[in-house]
Amino acid sequence: MKKKLIINSKEVEIDLSLNRDGKVEFTFNGKQYSFSNRKVDSVSQYISGDLNALVSSFENNFIVDGREMTIESPLRSRSKSNASSGGHMQSPMPGKILQVLVKVGDVVKEGDSLIVMEAMKMEHTIKANADGTISAIHFSEGQQCAGGVDLVDLSQEEA
C-alpha cells in the first residue's frame, strides 16, 4: 500500500507491506526495511531489526538515538512553510518592530537590513532575501507582530 508522509517538511512516499503486532515492513527510498518494535514507556519505543534504536516521539517530533526529525501524515500536517520565500520577508517569531530601515519604493540588494525587531529579548535584523524594490511594509515601529507573517514585500524586476 502506497502511503505519503511528510518527513522534515519534505513529502516522501513509502510502500507499506506490513504493520501489525509490532512488526513493520516497508520500502523507503528504494530500499526494503523490516522492524520490530515494542513500547518501553509513554514516549519511547525500542525499534529492532535493520537498526536497533530507541525512538522517542511527541506529536510530530521523533528522536532516533538522539537524531531529531519530524514525521507526519499529509492529512494532519501542521507544519507550513515558514521560510521567507522570494519577495516576502516574514517575522521569524512573535515580537516587536523596533526599527523600519526602508520605505516603499527603496531599491535594495539581497542582504540589506530592512527591519530590526525584538523577539525573546534579542534583536533580530530582517534582511532582504533578494534584490528588488520595496513594494509594501506591513508594520510600523513599535508595533507587535505575530510569527510567520509578512513584514516587508519586495518586487523583483524582471531582468
Binding site: S42, V43, E59, F62, V64, G66
Partner: protein, 499 residues
C-alpha cells in the same frame, strides 16, 4: 552550625524563576530552611511555582511589575515571614537599589553589599577601581562623554576591531563587534538601543577587541570575617552571540603557575574591595597566557555547578552561611580540583537557523542516567516554552574523572535529555564537544564562527529515518485501533507459549 544558621535564616524568599529558583530551593531543603517562591499567572504549571514551601503570585504584566518589582517582592517576603531574599542570577541579582531596599526593610540580602554591587555593576566604575589596585585591563575608552563623534574617535584611536559594550550590560545584550570604521555608527546605534531596552541605560564603553581570546573566570567566595577564598577557574570560551553555551573546569589552557596567578589576582580583587559572598571575576586571556580583567559578576553564576562538582562544594549553602554572618568553614588549601566537569546550556533555539529562538510544548524532558550527571532544569513534561522569558531550558552538567570522560558523558547524556517537542540546540551541543578542536582544548570565544564548518548538521541517514517511520507507523496504527484495544492485547499474546 545549622542551628546557628536557622536562628538567623529559617525562611528564604527566592526572587527568581526557572532552574535557578529550583537550584536555590534544593539547598534550602537540604539545610532545613523553608523556601518561598514567586511566579506570574502564566507560570502556574512551572515547577518553581509549586515545589517550594509557599509561593505567591506576582500577577500579570511586564517584568517591571513582576520579577523586577522591588516593592511587591519585599512585601511578599515580609508577609511570608522570610528572613532573607536570594536573588538568583539575572533580574534583581545585581541591583544595588533593590539590595539596599531589602536591607532597609529589615531583611537579609543574600549577596554582596550594595556598595560592592555599585563598584562592579558598572563596567566603567569597576575598571577605574581595578586600575587603583593594579589589576591588568584591556585598552579602551570608558569616558563620560558619550557623543557619537567622541566615541568614534576613541574607537579609531584604540584601533579596529573594537568592541562596543553597554556599560550596565551582561549576557551579550547591547554588545557589538565593529571590524571597520564604516560600520561603527550603525553598530553603535544598535548597541545603544538594545542597552536602553534591556537595562534602561544606554551608556557604552569601547574596548580593543582581542582576537582568539579565551574566557577564563574565577569563582570567589568571601565572608565577613576577612576570609577571601577562590574555588578555582572555569573556562567559558564557547559562546554564541556572546552568550556562553559550553563551560568547563579545569581549563586546559592553564598550567599550575598560570592557574595560581589568575586565581590569586581574583582574590586580590575580592579582598581589595572587601567583597562579601559569592562572586565571579571574569578575565580574557590571549594566546600567550596574558590575562586582563573583564568584569566581576556580584552574584551566583549560571555555570556555578561545574565548580561545585569539581570542588565538591555547595556554593548556595556557602552564600547562605555568609549571609547569616558565619565564617566560611574551609581554608584555601582545603579546596582542590578533582576530575573534570562540563556544563552545556540547552536552549530552545534553532542553531542551524541563526540560533532563532523556538517555542512549543515540551512533551518529554528526559532524565540523565549516568553517575555524577546533573540536570538543572526549570521545566517538566507538558510545560509550554513561550517568548516571555529567556530561552535557556536547562543546564546539563557532567562530571568525569578526566576531560575525555566528561566529554563522553556529555555526549551520552544529551541523548537522554530530549526536550521532545521543542527545537533545541541539543544536537548542536553534541557537535561542539565532539569536534577535534574542542577535544584538543583549542577553545576560544570565536570557536563557533571559526569552526562553523565542523558544526554543520550531519545529514540524517535513510536508516535512521526508516526507524523513525517504523515508530510513526506503529503509533498511527495504535491510534487507529485504540477502540479494539482489548482484542489487540489478546492478539499480541499469540507469540507466547506456556512451557
Amino acid at each position: 552550625m545549622s542551628t546557628e544558621i536557622l536562628n538567623k535564616i529559617d525562611k528564604i524568599l527566592i526572587a527568581n524563576r526557572g532552574e535557578i529558583a529550583l537550584r536555590v530551593m534544593k539547598t534550602c531543603k537540604e539545610m532545613g530552611i523553608k523556601s518561598v517562591t514567586i511566579y506570574t499567572e502564566t507560570e502556574k504549571s512551572y515547577p518553581h511555582s509549586y515545589l517550594s514551601d509557599e509561593s505567591f503570585s506576582l500577577g500579570m504584566g511586564p517584568l517591571s511589575e513582576t520579577y523586577l518589582n522591588h516593592e511587591k517582592i519585599i512585601e511578599i517576603a515580609k508577609v511570608s515571614g522570610a528572613k532573607a531574599i536570594h536573588p538568583g542570577y539575572g533580574f534583581l541579582s545585581e541591583n544595588s537599589v533593590f539590595a539596599k531596599k531589602v536591607t532597609d526593610a529589615g531583611l537579609i540580602f543574600i549577596g554582596p553589599t550594595p556598595h560592592s554591587m555599585e563598584i562592579m555593576g558598572d563596567k566603567k566604575t569597576s575598571k577605574v577601581e581595578m586600575e587603583k589596585i593594579k589589576i591588568p585591563l584591556i585598552p579602551g575608552y570608558h569616558g563620560d562623554d558619550q557623543s557619537e563623534s567622541v566615541l568614534k574617535a576613541a574607537a579609531i584611536d584604540i584601533g579596529f576591531p573594537v568592541l562596543v559594550k553597554a556599560s550596565a550590560g551582561g549576557g551579550g545584550k547591547g554588545m557589538r563587534i565593529v571590524w571597520k570604521e564604516e560600520e561603527f555608527i550603525e553598530a553603535l546605534a544598535s548597541a545603544k538601543r538594545e542597552a536602553l531596552n534591556s537595562f534602561g541605560n544606554d551608556i557604552v564603553l569601547i574596548e580593543k577587541f582581542i582576537q582568539n581570546p579565551r574566557h577564563i573566570e574565577v569563582q570567589v567566595m568571601s565572608d565577613t570575617h576577612g576570609n577571601h577564598l577562590h574555588f578555582f577557574e572555569r573556562e567559558c570560551s564557547i559562546q554564541r552571540r556572546h552568550q556562553k553555551v559550553v563551560e568547563e573546569t579545569p581549563s586546559k589552557a592553564l598550567d599550575d603557575k598560570l592557574r595560581k596567578s589568575i586565581c590569586e589576582t581574583a582574590v586580590a580583587i575580592s579582598s581589595g574591595i572587601n567583597y562579601k559572598g559569592a562572586g565571579t571575576v571574569e578575565f580574557i586571556m590571549d594566546a600567550d597566557g596574558k590575562f586582563f580583567f573583564l568584569e566581576m559578576n556580584t552574584r551566583l553564576q549560571v555555570e556555578h555547578p561545574i565548580t561545585e562538582m569539581v570542588t565538591n562544594s555547595d556554593l548556595v549553602r556557602l552564600q547562605i552561611l555568609v549571609a547569616a554572618g558565619l565564617e566560611l568553614p574551609m581554608k584555601q588549601q582545603e579546596i582542590s580540583q578533582n576530575g573534570h566537569a562540563i556544563e552545556v546550556r540547552i536552549y530552545s533555539e534553532d542553531p542551524d537557523n541563526n540560533f532563532m529562538p523556538a517555542i512549543g510544548k515540551i512533551g518529554h524532558v528526559g532524565t540523565p542516567t549516568l553517575n555524577n550527571v546533573r540536570l538543572d532544569s526549570g521545566y517538566v513534561d507538558g510545560n509550554e516554552v513561550t517568548i516571555d522569558f529567556d530561552p535557556m531550558l536547562a543546564k546539563l552538567i557532567c562530571w568525569g574523572v578526566d576531560r575525555d570522560s566528561a566529554i563522553s558523558k556529555t555526549l551520552h547524556s544529551l541523548n537522554e535529555v530530549k526536550f521532545l517537542g521543542v527545537t533545541t540546540n541539543r544536537d548542536y551541543l553534541k557537535r561542539i564537544v565532539n569536534t577535534t578542536p574542542f577535544r584538543e582544548g583549542d577553545t576560544f570565544t570565536h570557536f563557533i564562527d571559526t569552526y562553523s564548518d565542523l558544526l554543520k548538521p550531519v545529514e540524517t541517514t535513510d536508516l535512521e529515518i526508516a526507524a523513525g517511520i517504523a515508530s510513526f507507523l506503529t503509533n498511527s496504527q495504535t491510534e487507529d485501533t485504540t477502540k479494539s484495544e482489548t482484542v489487540q492485547a489478546w492478539n499480541r499474546l499469540q507469540g507466547f507459549r506456556n512451557i
